[in-house]
Symmetry: C2
Subunit: 326 residues, 2 copies
C-alpha cells in the first residue's frame, strides 16, 4: 500500500464560463466537483496505475462530506480494498483514512474561460485544525505507516498546523524504514527537509525560493545539502532533473506539448512512487514520472492523464545520465 | 403569516479577495455563506421587521442541507414559530417549508474586491426539478396558502420548471383571496402577469423588457393592462413609482446614497408586504419600501439593512401623489 498525506484537502470545483469579466455577472455552464489537494490527486493517479493507495489528512464539515462521498465513488467498487490487481492492469482501490475535523474542508474554484481555456483560481483558506485533531492525526498516521510501502507528504498546511509539521511526519517514516517523499513549498518545505526525507520534488520556483539559486543543478545540490537524500526538480517542459545518492539524471519529454499543466506535478509524484514500490531503477522511475506528467498536460480534464499518450510516451522519454561531480 | 416562494434557492457565498485578476490565482480571505434566492432574502427582512414568515420552494443535496441549517440559525430560537411578537419589536421566526429535491441547490459566488467593493458574480444553474417534485411542491403550496396573509413569488425558475409556472401559482392565491406579489423577470414575468397578480415589482430594466418602453409611467401602465392589478416600479436612486387601483404615487429617498444595491429590491418587497398585512395605506407602504431599500444600500453587508438608517429614513421619504389620468 502507498500512503498519501494531504493535510489541506479541498473540494475542487471547476466552473465553465464564456469569459470571466471582473465586476460583471456570469452564468456558470458546466460544473465539476472532485476531491482535491495534492495527495488526493497523487492517489487518483496511483489508483489508475493499479496501486492500492490509502489517503489520510483532514476532512470536515459539509464540504468534507461531499469530498469523501466523491472519493468513495473514485474507488472502482466503492468498497474497502480486498487485494490489489497486478500493477498497470486495472484501477486499484483508494482507502479513505482521513481524520474528521470540526472545520469545513476548503473549496477551490477554477473558473475556466470556455474558448481560451484560461483559468482563474479562487482558493478558500483551509479549516482551523485544533491541537487535539493534530494529535488524533499523528496516531492514525503512525498506524498507517506500519502497512505502507512508501509515503508521500503533499501540499500546503491548513491554519492551526505548525510550520514544522512535515518534519514531525518525516521522522517516524524514516524510523519505520518507509521511503518518504515530501512535496510542499516555502517554510514547510524548508523545515521538512531538515528531517531528511528520501525525496523532495520541487518545481523550479519552489527550488529557487528554497535555495536562492535559479540554476537547477546548483539549486538541486544545495537542496540535498539541506537534508533531502534525493531531489527531483521538475522543470516544466524540460522534464525533470534528478540528483540522487545513486547518480544524476535528466529526463525530458520527446517534444514540447501544449495543454493544461494543472496536476502534472502530482502525476510525476505518482510515477516516482509507483516505480519505487515496484523496485524499478532511477531511469525507469524518471521515465514514468515524465511520461505521466506530460500525459496529464495533454488530457482535456485538468489533473487527469491521457492513458494512451502515457503508454506511448513511456518509451520515448529521453534520459541523460550526468557525471556525478559534486 | 407571510409566505415567500423561492423556486431557485441558492447557497450564497461571498469571497473577499484583494482584487480579482483574470487568469491568476487568488487566496480568498473572509468567506460568508448564507441562504439565498430572492424569497429567502425577503423572508430575512420580514423576520427582522417582526413578521412571522414561512419560506417554500426547493432545496436539495449537500448545498441544500447547508442552506437549511443556516436558515434554521436565522430563526431567533431555531424552533418552530409559537406566535409572532408585535411587528417591529423583535425578529420573528422563519419557518422552513422547503420541498426536498434530488438535485443540488445551486451556489452563487460574489467575489468582492477588498478596496473598491466591486463585485464579480458567478451563478451556478439550479438543479433539474422533476415533474413529481413540482407536483409535491404544488400540494405544499396550496396547504400553506390556507394560513397565509400574503404571498410573494420570487426570482428565477430552475431547470425543469415550465415557463408558465408563476401563472400556476398566482391563480390559487387569487382564488384563496391571498394577496400575491410576483417579483421575477423575462418570460416567467410575462406569463405570470396574465394570471392577474395583485402586485408586481419590476425594476426599470425588467419593465422595459416586458413592455418595450423606457418611460416609467407609460411602461407601468402598460404592465397593468397586461394583467397586474398594481405595479411598483423600482427606479433605483429615484425610489419607486406605484401605479395601483387606488392611485399613483412616487416615493423617493430624501437624498442619493452610495453603497451596494444587492438585495435592495428584496427589501422593498418586504416593506410592501409588511405594510400590506399591517393594513397600512399606500403612502406608508411605499415609505417603508423606499426606506428599507435605501437602508439596504447603506448596510456594509450585501442584503442586510441598516436598522438605524431605516428608522431615520422612514419619516424622510418624499411621497408625491400623481393625478390618476389614464
Amino acid at each position: 500500500m502507498i500512503l498519501t498525506v494531504t493535510l489541506n484537502t479541498a473540494l475542487d470545483l471547476t466552473y465553465d464560463v464564456p469569459k470571466l469579466v471582473p465586476h460583471t455577472s456570469h452564468r456558470v455552464g458546466d460544473i465539476s466537483e472532485r476531491p482535491g489537494g495534492k495527495g488526493l490527486n497523487v492517489a487518483r493517479v496511483l489508483s489508475a496505475l493499479g496501486h492500492e493507495t490509502t489517503v489520510t489528512g483532514f476532512a470536515g464539515g459539509s464540504t468534507g462530506a461531499v469530498l469523501r462521498e466523491l472519493l468513495a465513488g473514485t474507488s472502482p467498487d466503492g468498497s474497502a480494498p480486498t487485494g490489489a490487481p497486478a500493477p498497470g492492469t486495472a484501477p486499484a482501490p483508494i482507502t479513505d483514512a482521513l481524520v474528521t475535523v470540526a472545520g469545513n474542508t476548503r473549496r477551490t474554484i477554477a473558473v475556466v474561460d470556455r474558448a481560451s481555456g484560461d483559468t482563474t483560481q479562487l482558493n478558500e483558506p483551509g479549516p482551523l485544525v485544533t491541537a487535539d485533531e493534530w494529535t488524533a492525526f499523528l496516531g492514525r498516521y503512525e498506524e498507517l505507516l506500519a502497512g505502507a510501502d512508501a509515503v508521500a507528504l503533499c501540499g500546503s498546511l491548513p491554519p492551526g498546523i505548525h510550520v514544522g509539521a512535515y518534519a514531525e511526519l518525516v521522522r517516524p517514516a524514516r524510523a519505520a524504514g518507509v521511503p518518504v517523499l515530501l512535496d510542499t513549498s516555502g517554510e514547510p518545505l524548508r523545515r521538512g527537509i531538515a528531517a531528511r526525507p528520501d525525496l523532495i520534488k520541487p518545481n523550479a520556483e519552489e527550488l529557487a525560493q528554497l535555495t536562492g539559486s535559479r540554476d537547477p543543478l546548483r539549486a538541486t545540490r544545495d537542496a540535498r545539502r539541506r537534508g533531502a537524500h534525493g531531489v527531483i526538480a521538475s522543470l516544466g517542459p524540460d522534464g525533470v532533473l534528478a540528483v540522487t545518492p545513486d547518480g544524476i539524471w535528466q529526463a525530458r519529454p520527446p517534444a514540447k506539448v501544449l495543454g493544461n499543466p494543472t496536476g502534472a506535478g502530482d502525476s510525476a509524484v505518482a510515477g516516482l512512487l509507483s516505480g519505487l514500490v515496484e523496485g524499478l531503477g532511477w531511469p525507469d522511475r524518471l521515465r514514468r514520472a515524465v511520461a505521466l506528467s506530460t500525459a496529464t498536460v495533454l488530457a482535456p480534464t485538468a489533473g487527469d492523464f491521457d492513458r494512451a499518450a502515457y503508454e506511448e510516451l513511456l518509451s520515448r522519454v529521453v534520459i541523460e545520465e550526468h557525471a556525478p561531480a559534486a
